[in-house]
Amino acid sequence: MNKDFIFSTESNPTNFSSVKDLAIDVLFGTEFASPAASNLYALGITKTFGGSNIFLRYSPGFFKEFSLLKNQSIVGEDSSDISLKTDLKYYEYFSAGYSYKLNEKLSGGFTLKYFNEEFSQDAVGAVFSDTSISFIRETETETMKLWNIQFGADYLFTPSLRLSLSASNFINMKNGSLSETNKPYELRTPKNVRFALYYQPFQTVEANVLYETANALQVSIGKTFIFDKMSANIGCNYFSDFLLSGIQPSLSFQYGNICAAVSGVVYFSDIQKTASFADLTANGISNLMHNKFSSNKALLNVSYRLNTETERLVQFVDVTISNSIFPTFTEHFANEPFAVARVVNLSDKPVSVKPSSKIDKINSELIYSPNVLVQPKDSATIPFYTVVSEDYFSPKHEISFVNFYVTTENRDADDEMQKPLLINSSNAWDGEVSNLRYFVKRDFNFSSAMAKRLLASHKSELDTTNSALSNFLQAKILFTEIITGMLYIADPLASNDRVQFPHETIDVKGGDCDDLSVCLASLYESIGIETAFVDYRGNDFSRHVHLLFNTNLSPAEAGLITQNDKKYYIRKNSLGEEKIWIPLETTERSNFANAWEKGVEKFSSEALDQLGLIKGTVQIIEIY
């Protein structure tokens, strides 16, 4: 029942196989006769070569023996009775199967079974010598070898619906002859056509129906439970040939390459320790393992799959690049996927997929994204993340390519795909004010050195000022030294989303609102002054940004910088302490006081009076 087992000659005359490479099975059985006995039933191996599959089985446990103690005896010299007996032995030593997959839907195949039948009859002979007469027991044995061929075809309407049609006993080859005495015991081989339908209504449920024209019916149902690294299957099979019926419950587990199943065969008729010889003579047997003389059984099947070739478990359906790469946003793509892939699980077990990618010129090694579990035969969307080295710098856009990989339990990737990718220039910006922080951070070393040098020239002023005003005074000095006197230079028309790094702004002595805000924020942050961008979004899609900075003054100390309580805003820091923040319009380059004044006007008007902060047209974005 479990499709991971290969002992399928009885129920699979077409040798239909799901084994992708090589599988080895061992089958043990216990027959609950009296006394119970267990033995090795069969050893099997199957190998797939391209579209062909070959199956070989040695089955020392597939046999049936009968012993008849005749109502005949010889009276011995001591008047004891020596009984005569008849032994009937049937063995199926070997079987083999071959199938060929013509296309994805149709396959055909056959199985070949080798039987040996041995019938031994005790007979009485007499010996006359010159001085004595005696009876002797003579055993006469006849054997018959039988090659039985079954053939048929399988058609997959869908991956979950398969029809199997096969014929058996139309071709039999015999070697040997039997006397009239033993002919009634010969293995019966009635011509038979078999129809079987295998259906999986759900991913983990399977139901099979089988009908034979020789009046046999089989119905089975199974349910698979999938866990993280293993799966379990529970099923039950009802069979009836209208004379003998029973059920075969089964429980199987699969872990990695190993699959084990325990099943039982329970007949509804009573088990007979002895059986009717007249019945056997009249009806014979046609199946060694399942006949009206069979006893209840327990079976253990252990299967091992050996893959000498890497089996592809998953495969890309497609990969979509969702974002071009902004190289300055170094950590941005560690949280925001730059691409998503659709991946399908080709196997019949759950697979943990490990995605990875490598962008040419950006990544020096594979960047791994989080693992995703994909259910058997199911597909899943897998996001790809990346990081950009801070050392990367390119003044212009360029086209690169990215290699995507999906890896499972195999050492090598199961599938890979290459896609072109746009890498923007290092100054490129996507228009999101929150991403300006990457430009602030990029020139930290430069900004720190510049700020310290400038402040050093105002040492005496800073030393003599109230320490509470330290942040305010440093901010004022840096603004005066850097921003005052700069030019307002708009971005080139062709590249609206371009941001200068602070050192570039200082070098060219000018920039637009985002350039100047980034530059000033970088200088302030480099000396420990907290800053935030104020993002203004106009109805006409116009954008503007200016700066807020933390004076580190408490509301009670606000009087140290202004008596006008509308010129500052109180915000709580991470410790919950209220601090005075003041806005600076960085495009107002005349002096610090005017920049402050302009910042207050714009912020009060748009963020507060026009309820911009509530409507969302104005946002305050922390740099850290």
Binding site: V26, F28, G29, T30, A33, P35, A36, A37, S38, N39, L40, K64, E65, F66, S67, L68, L69, K70, N71, Q72, S73, I74, V75, E77, D81, T86, D87, K89, A123, V124, G125, A126, V127, F128, T131, I133, F135, E138, S179, E180, T181, N182, K229, M230, Y255, G256, I258, A260, K273, T274, A275, S276, F277, A278, L280, T281, F293, S295, L300, V302
Partner: protein
């Protein structure tokens, strides 16, 4: 997890592997409606030249040794056929054994007991004759005969002999007085079994080999006996070789191996005796009576 999985598999594997062993064969009950072979094969004459098996075998079916009892009553109604000729032969023999006088053969085996002299019993109201109870034993070169006391007989061959008349489907009356005077007369009736009429023909077995097919009129008895003997060339008497117990179903095939073994150069004729008999054992007064009443049909044929 993988280790647990492997351990469970290993445990199950071991349990199955060392479980027990190969299952034994299914025992079949021999319930075939007709038996065409004998149920039991018994050698009577362990040596065909042994005189012991000749003197007691004269187509009556009486073979030695006699049963160890106080009184052995043997009544036999016989037909002997050879080709198209048949004769009838009725015999009744009564042995009163003296259990204090056993008789042993030279090989040390006890043969039986000496016969006592008593007041002659009556069979069907006919007084029996007292004769010597003689047996021959030994090989042709050293045949010995000996008298083991007396026995009481009535016999009739065709129309000759005593006025004994045994009838099928009737009973035989036995009377005996231990003492001439007095009331202690022992008498009882013994039912005669149905007549048996046999036939011997040649047939083929399942392998196409020639075998002897013996048929007879089947009756209500469980079994009949068939005694096979042979006549040694240049001898008048026959030697009984085998006794077959067969179902009383009217037909039996004698296995080819049995008949083929009878050496043609020593025996030129074979004798098949079909015996349908009733055996009983009963106590009368202080005596144990062992009774065999039978009818037989013996067929003498040339070696086929």
């Amino acid at each position: 997890m993988k280790k647990y999985f492997q351990h469970i598999i290993l445990l199950l594997f071991t349990a199955f592997f060392f479980g027990c062993g190969k299952p034994g064969p299914t025992e079949l009950i021999d319930d075939r409606p007709s038996e065409e072979t004998p149920l039991q094969y018994e050698v009577l004459a362990k040596n065909p030249d042994d005189a012991l098996y000749k003197n007691g075998y004269d187509s009556t079916g009486l073979v030695t040794p006699p049963p160890p009892t106080d009184v052995f009553l043997f009544i036999s109604k016989n037909i002997v056929s050879q080709q198209s000729l048949s004769i009838t032969y009725d015999v009744a023999q009564v042995f009163f054994f003296d259990k204090g006088k056993p008789f042993h053969l030279p090989d040390g085996k006890r043969y039986g007991f000496h016969g006592k002299k008593v007041i002659p019993p009556r069979i069907n109201s006919i007084l029996t004759r007292e004769v010597d109870y003689v047996i021959d034993y030994g090989m042709p070169a050293s045949v010995k005969d000996t008298v083991l006391g007396s026995k009481y007989v009535l016999s009739r061959i065709g129309v000759l002999g005593d006025s004994l008349s045994l009838l099928y489907n009737s009973s035989v009356k036995f009377e005996y007085r231990e003492k001439m005077m007095g009331p202690n007369k022992i008498e009882f009736d013994i039912a005669m079994p149905e007549q048996i009429i046999g036939n011997v023909s040649v047939s083929q077995n399942g392998k196409g080999e020639k075998v002897l097919l013996l048929t007879w009129n089947k009756a209500s008895k469980d079994s009949v006996e068939i005694i096979v003997g042979g006549k040694l060339k240049n001898e008048k008497t026959a030697t009984a070789f085998f006794k077959f117990h067969v179902k009383d179903n009217g037909q039996v095939i004698i296995p080819r191996g049995v008949m083929a073994a009878i050496p043609r150069d020593r025996f030129d004729r074979l004798v098949f005796s079909f015996v349908r008999k009733a055996v009983s054992r009963q106590m009368k007064s202080s005596l144990e009576f062992f009774t065999i009443i039978q009818n037989t049909h013996s067929i003498i044929i040339d070696y086929p």
